[in-house]
Amino acid sequence: MAPTTEAGGPIASSSAPASASGEGDALTTLSDHVPPPGAWKRFGRTLRRERKAMFGAIVLGLLVFAAVFAPWLTPHDPNAMDFMFMEPPSLTHPLGTDDLGRDLLTRLLYGTRISLFVGISTVAIGLVIGVLLGLLAGYHGRWIDTIIMRYVDLQWAFPNFIIAVYLVAVFGTGLVNVIIAISLAYIDDFARVARSMVLTIKEEQYVAAARVLGASDTRIMWRHILPNTTAPIIVQATVSVSYAILAEAGLSFLGLGVESDTPTWGLILSDSRSFISRAWWLGIFPGLFIVMTVLSINFLGDALRDTLDVREVDGAS
């Protein structure tokens, strides 16, 4: 039962700085706020213990597998139209067919690719920009901080989905535009997370030590601060990915998503809208895919958050 401190004052933890990477740089130290090495092992244990996390990991694994190997997993072509319109699930078409005779399962599998791709790429972009801004703001302070945080506050107060809708409408649909539009939504969250971590870590002694030894600002930011901010950023990333998937589905549903020959889950739902009352499988299965994906990402994210012991930033879930 190690004593924990609320005010962050060092009692037991920051006694001897342990090297995070083990390489030559003796100043790469661990912060109090960073999970100790071995956290990944603990995460593995948590995964096995918590059913939700296990479920999430399995489902996500399956989905990634499906995304990568889609063409080999199904004999049908996603756009191949058949005369078997609106067939309920059967042996040849396990999830049924849509109004143009296309196999639903195939389309959903191919849709996995897009959704996952959109999810990851949008988060990646938003993360890079957001974290960069947050680092700059937190580290340099003063007017850079003010400007960046004003922008972040402004964006934070906004329904990002609506901005995405507007952007896609103005600049046109298509995969690239959708990705750009959605990725803008994350900048504020990542910037906030990064900035608050920077502010906390900046005060740690090893940063002062590095500065005294003459390390340049960039080096400090890169070598010392950034590695220690990974935990909350990772957690934020999982939240953002699930949002991305839902946002992409929403945009596609509205007709503002990607082009219609690439089947995304939202598009499938949108196409089938008028038939859903007669062909229940066209409504349920795409939705289930979305739900399962987002659910498993959320489970994993939760498990990650618990293991890495990250405090929620600003109370947002």
């Binding site: 934070w156 509205l254 229940w280 939705g287 959320n298 929620e312």
Partner: protein, 315 residues
């Protein structure tokens, strides 16, 4: 306290101004001729001239901006490009109460479900009840709202025929017509909102229950119900109020899509329609209206803080 209110109100107006400015420049950033964007028939010379004069297209961008700002403040958003060239302000005025009704109903339903759920979850931590609530919360967050809406339509409208599938009736037509048309979309957009609130209440309550003043309350021999409802819950609600402000975004963006599904001519439908038709005056007006709802909802949340937390009141 008054300074707090003033600052918040001022902040709200500043944000609105920023949004409006953003909208203005975004419109100008659209590739193509802005006049053509705002006028269906760019060949009509007289109309083009009139438009130029009104919006100052032949003058510098700054003049345009201020003219536009002035017009906007007066509520003149121009006219819709299509159809009978209805004034955008009229379109907005018709659509606004619908979206507001929807959002409010969703909010109320969500709170009525989420607060007790979160409370029970926290009090009976790790029990079957808690796990059930948590599972529902996760599911609620994982479902796209429009999908939930579609499912609800299938079950309640198509199959059971208890509720009308689409459309909107104002309150003036009676409570049940109004309610029956709005209940399904309200549930659709309220569910993710409720999920967030329930989880937030749960974690907030768990934290509050660990505080010193709760131990003190127990040491006073107070009844459990008193401690829970009088001591713990009000404190637990404070971070929840913060989240509520953010979650209003969920309601609004949900409304945008769900109105589509349920054919409710609210702001969402107007916005999407405008976008798809490239009807920029309408788009402008709709975005401004949505932002306004959003900003002022957040303002209300901020002011709510002042009411709940005496530390803010007596600074």
């Amino acid at each position: 306290m008054t300074s707090y209110i003033l600052r918040r109100v001022l902040g709200a107006f500043v944000v609105m101004w920023a949004v409006a400015t953003l909208v203005f420049f975004m419109l100008r950033a659209v590739p193509g001729d802005p006049i053509a964007a705002m006028l269906f028939d760019a060949g009509d010379a007289a109309a083009v001239e009139a438009m130029k004069a009104r919006f100052g297209f032949d003058q510098s961008i700054f003049v345009q901006y201020f003219k536009w700002l002035w017009l906007t403040l007066q509520g003149d958003f121009g006219n819709s490009i299509y159809g009978s060239r209805v004034e955008v302000s009229r379109i907005i005025a018709e659509a606004l109460p619908r979206t507001l009704s929807l959002a409010l109903l969703a909010f109320v339903i969500a709170m009525v479900i989420a607060v007790p759920a979160g409370l029970i979850s926290a009090v009976h931590r790790n029990s079957a009840l808690d796990n059930g609530v948590t599972l529902f919360a996760f599911l609620g967050l994982a479902m796209p709202d429009f999908w939930l809406g579609i499912m609800l339509i299938i079950v309640f409208a198509a199959n059971l025929q208890w509720l009308p599938a689409i459309g909107y009736e104002p309150l003036s037509a009676g409570f049940w017509p109004w309610f029956s048309h709005l209940i399904m979309p309200a549930i659709a957009i309220g569910t993710p909102f409720a999920a967030i609130i329930a989880r937030m209440i749960r974690s907030s309550m768990l934290e509050v229950m660990r505080t010193e003043y709760i131990t003190v309350a127990r040491s006073k021999g107070l009844k459990n119900r008193t401690i829970l409802l009088r001591h713990a819950l009000p404190n637990a609600l404070i971070p929840v109020v913060t989240v509520m402000g953010i979650a209003v975004a969920l309601l609004m963006s949900g409304a945008v899509v769900v109105e589509n599904v349920f054919a409710i001519k609210g702001l969402g439908r107007v916005l999407i329609g405008g976008i798809l038709n490239r009807d920029y005056p309408v788009v402008q007006g709709a975005i401004l209206a949505v932002s306004a709802i959003f900003v002022f909802a957040n303002l209300a949340v901020d002011l709510l803080y002042g009411v709940i937390d005496p530390r803010i009141r007596y600074d």
